[in-house]
């Protein structure tokens, strides 16, 4: 006969008392574990949702950037660097510049450590009478893209027109029945038709493109140009002032105007879309955080309340148990059982209630928390949390049983035995 056997026998005899205590611990542990599991699932889901949204945004931005690049390429340039004395009224009236600046400007710009401009295309344009065909045309000399010395070479957005060849606008080749491969004279010089452009519905349809140097020779404007088309970096859509400052710092004798507003608008739209996507992610984060706080607040009220109720309930059950075992305590004391052993009778029982309750409650709470959180995975099972539960639930039960156990141990056996 020993205390442990007595405890087990008493539990078997008074199953209801043990069961009610066990339910209390199970309820407390289930609540705590359920709340923790649910919050853990919430955090995991938040991470997954945000990661998914970021991935979607990233994919959307790649598509947007690709679209943007294509749009930019199709629309041409978004900045025009002109001689400082170019009258903009004339420019807008004629749709080309009438003043000139040194061709070396473009080389100076290309040699500068520009951060904002990616592509430079110098050109020389002049409206002339095509003497051989008696047609007014815009003769444009181009030399293709001028590479930046300080940057990795990019794929050129426009290639040069080979010497001795020309590209003809739609209206010209259509009305004059010009075909690719034909040879034509322009201002006394023979050119082979490199390409006949599709209709664009603008001055390009009456434009002839030839090599810049040949154009300079024909127009007697050696080493002169009247515009540099600059394609700004697509990574910023609203920093024209910065680009201007950068150009003016290298080429003080120029003016910079915006060309291709739709490109900028699209760039701004892209940036706006990116910002909206970021805002959506931020909003989702805030929403998830708020939801977590709500759940945390709920748990922070529920958990202490349940723990307190469980503790009081266990204490109440032990007081009932002590009262119903007065005679037993009296005779045990009479036969010489010490106070500490009487306490052990109750504390061991509390320990068993706590351990059993922790074991059952943890797995129950894990299951309920998973259902509540809407996700079940064994990866949420935490050995350390389980160990802590196995430590704290018995401590809770011991705490609740301590005062009743002390009362039991300090009962006067003489009084009990005399009463009976």
């Amino acid at each position: 006969m020993n205390i442990n056997k007595l405890v087990l026998k008493e539990i078997v005899r008074r199953k209801l008392n043990f069961f009610l205590g066990l339910i209390s611990v199970v309820f407390a542990v289930t609540t705590v574990t359920g709340a923790l599991t649910m919050l853990k699932i919430h955090d995991l889901k938040t991470g997954e949702i945000i990661a998914q949204k970021e991935l979607e945004t990233s994919e959307r931005m790649i598509i947007l950037e690709d679209d943007y690049r294509k749009i930019m390429k199709n629309l041409g340039f978004n900045l025009l660097i002109l001689p400082k004395d170019q009258n903009l009224n004339d420019l807008y009236a004629d749709d080309f510049a009438s003043k000139y600046m040194p061709e070396s400007f473009v080389d100076s710009l290309a040699a500068s450590p520009s951060m904002l401009i990616r592509h430079l295309l110098p050109s020389l344009q002049q409206k002339i009478e095509w003497p051989e065909k008696r047609r007014t045309i815009i003769l444009t000399g181009v030399r293709g893209e001028v590479p930046f010395l300080h940057k990795d070479p990019k794929e050129p957005m426009m290639v040069a027109v080979p010497k001795g060849t020309m590209i003809v606008g739609y209206e010209l080749h259509n009305s004059l029945d010009i075909k690719t491969g034909d040879e034509l004279k322009l201002m006394g010089r023979t050119f082979k038709i490199e390409k006949c452009n599709e209709a664009r519905g603008n001055k390009d349809d009456i434009t002839i493109w030839i090599d810049l140097q040949e154009a300079q020779e024909l127009l007697q404007k050696e080493e002169e140009i009247n515009a540099i088309l600059a394609l700004k970096c697509h990574c910023s859509g609203s920093d024209l002032a910065s680009v201007r400052d950068e150009v003016y710092s290298v080429l003080p004798g120029t003016q910079v105007i915006e060309k291709g507003t739709s490109v900028l608008a699209r760039a701004e739209a892209r940036d706006r879309a990116a910002k909206e996507a970021q805002d959506a992610i931020l909003s989702e984060k805030i929403h998830r955080n708020n939801l977590r706080k709500e759940r945390e607040n709920f748990a922070s009220i529920l958990v202490p309340l349940v723990l307190l109720t469980s503790t009081l309930w266990i204490a109440f059950l032990f007081i009932i148990n002590v009262r119903s075992r007065k005679s037993e305590i009296g005779i045990l004391r009479a036969v010489g059982v010490k106070e500490i052993s009487i306490m052990k009778l109750f504390l061991y029982k509390a320990l068993l209630i706590g351990l059993s309750g922790a074991f059952i409650g943890y797995f129950l709470g894990f299951g309920i928390g998973s259902i509540w959180g809407g996700l079940f995975s064994v990866s949420f099972f935490s050995v350390s949390q389980f160990a802590l539960t196995l430590l704290f639930a018995p401590l809770l039960a011991l705490l609740a049983a301590y005062i009743p156990a002390t009362i039991a141990a300090r009962q006067d056996p003489a009084e009990i035995l005399r009463e009976d």
Binding site: M1, K9, E328, I331, R333, A334, V337, A414, R418, D420
Partner: protein, 219 residues
């Protein structure tokens, strides 16, 4: 030997002092069977509990084999009780969820002396309860319960047996069984202090002590 010297026990109840024992002096030698008799409220049970080390007297000295039991600490007194004193009460005080053999072994919770199951069964058999070893108290008659309580008190062969109205609920047959077992105990050198109203039982005592209002009238 049990020796009570000028024992007084006072209670305070509702601002009134009650004198349960008043200068009681009593000696019971080894192998002596002393009956304590008296009317209800005369202090018999108080005397028994005080003699057993469960109720500290207000004054006086109680010695068992020269040990002043109230000079011991509570823990020491518990150990002393486990080794030297057996208790039997009218209400048996059996533990309801233990079988008869387990109830008899309850003193082993306090006394670590080694007693084999065979010895326990022999003791139970000597009280005619061998067929009831694995029954719980609720399945026993009053006589069987009292015999179980007596077996429990005798488990460690105590020097002193303190019994309070142990025949009060028993039929003559059971009284005889119990008294025979008490006689065996006495004959083996044990001291018995039995509180009873039963005149037939008192006749078997070596000495009868009459208590009235906490004082010994005669012995």
């Amino acid at each position: 030997m049990l020796q009570l010297e000028n024992i007084t026990k006072k209670y305070t109840k509702e601002n009134q002092t009650i004198l349960a024992l008043n200068g009681v002096t009593l000696k019971a030698s080894e192998g002596e069977f002393v009956v304590v008799s008296g009317a209800s409220g005369s202090g018999k049970t108080t005397l028994l509990l005080a003699a057993g080390g469960l109720l500290k007297p207000s004054s006086g000295k109680i010695q068992i084999n020269s040990t002043d039991i109230y000079n011991l600490t509570q823990e020491e007194r518990s150990v002393f009780r486990a080794n030297n004193i057996g208790f039997v009460f009218q209400q048996y005080h059996l533990i309801p969820y233990l079988t008869i053999i387990e109830n008899v072994k309850v003193p082993m919770l306090a006394n670590k002396s080694n007693i084999s199951d065979k010895e326990v069964i022999e003791l139970i058999d000597s009280l005619g309860l061998k067929d009831r070893l694995h029954h719980i108290p609720a399945e026993l008659s009053a006589g069987e319960k009292q015999r179980t309580a007596l077996a429990r008190a005798l488990l460690f062969k105590p020097k002193i047996l303190l019994a309070d109205e142990i025949t009060g609920n028993l039929d003559p047959e059971n009284i005889e069984i119990v008294m025979n077992r008490l006689a065996d105990f006495k004959n083996s050198g044990g001291t018995i202090l039995l509180v009873t109203h039963d005149k037939e039982v008192s006749k078997k005592a070596d000495r009868i002590v009459y208590l009235e209002k906490g004082e010994i009238l005669r012995s």
